[in-house]
């Protein structure tokens, strides 16, 4: 289970992805991903907000994750 990181999320973690299968407890839901990130990298708490995408769609906290999902952290967007 791999987590993709973009923008400031990449700067906070220091790399562009995290292999979650290396973590002690695999996250079960989108909410778990957020808990994991803010615990391991408290700088995420300083952001205006951040969203999680599962298979390139915005995902709500209750979404349950599958092993082959593509998960991405979406910090505040600023295109245009």
């Amino acid at each position: 289970m791999e987590l993709l990181l973009f923008g400031i999320a990449k700067d906070i973690v220091g790399k562009s992805n995290i292999d979650l299968s290396q973590t002690s407890a695999l996250p079960n839901s989108v909410a778990d991903i957020k808990v994991y990130l803010t615990k391991e990298y408290p700088d995420f708490l300083k952001l205006s907000s951040f969203a999680v995408a599962v298979n390139s769609e915005y995902a709500t906290d209750d979404i349950i994750l599958k092993d082959d999902d593509e998960i991405a952290i979406i910090p505040p967007v600023s295109g245009g």
């Binding site: 952001l47 995408a53 600023s78």
Partner: protein, 139 residues
Amino acid sequence: MQKTIIEIVDNLNVDGVYKELTDPKSGGICVFVGTVRDFTNNEEVVSLEFETYKAMALKEMQKIVDQAMVKWNLNKVVMRHAVGVKEVEEPVVIIGVSSGHRDACFAACRFMIDTLKETVPIWKKEVFKNKTVWVSAHP
């Protein structure tokens, strides 16, 4: 000519967009081009750097275009965003809309750039002389 063009590219060619939008059923074409401004809050900007989660960005752009096509009954739409390093005066995004009457193309063009800025996963880093800032990241 296809009705909608949605792309993320390294370099934007603004001049070509008019040809992509002409249509015998159109009386109005509205094009918005976002460009790099020289100053942000009185600080001189060296460049902007754009990155994207491309697969998701294209899906979100498609949603915006689909919504606008239906709501305003548009003839043609172009939505094209640049990534990479962009310097002052360079274009970073083009939204082009072609419709029967001008009300529709103005309203749809405005809706599309506003919504793109809210939902499409593209990130902009402002590069100043002595620092860099991810726009909108912090409160």
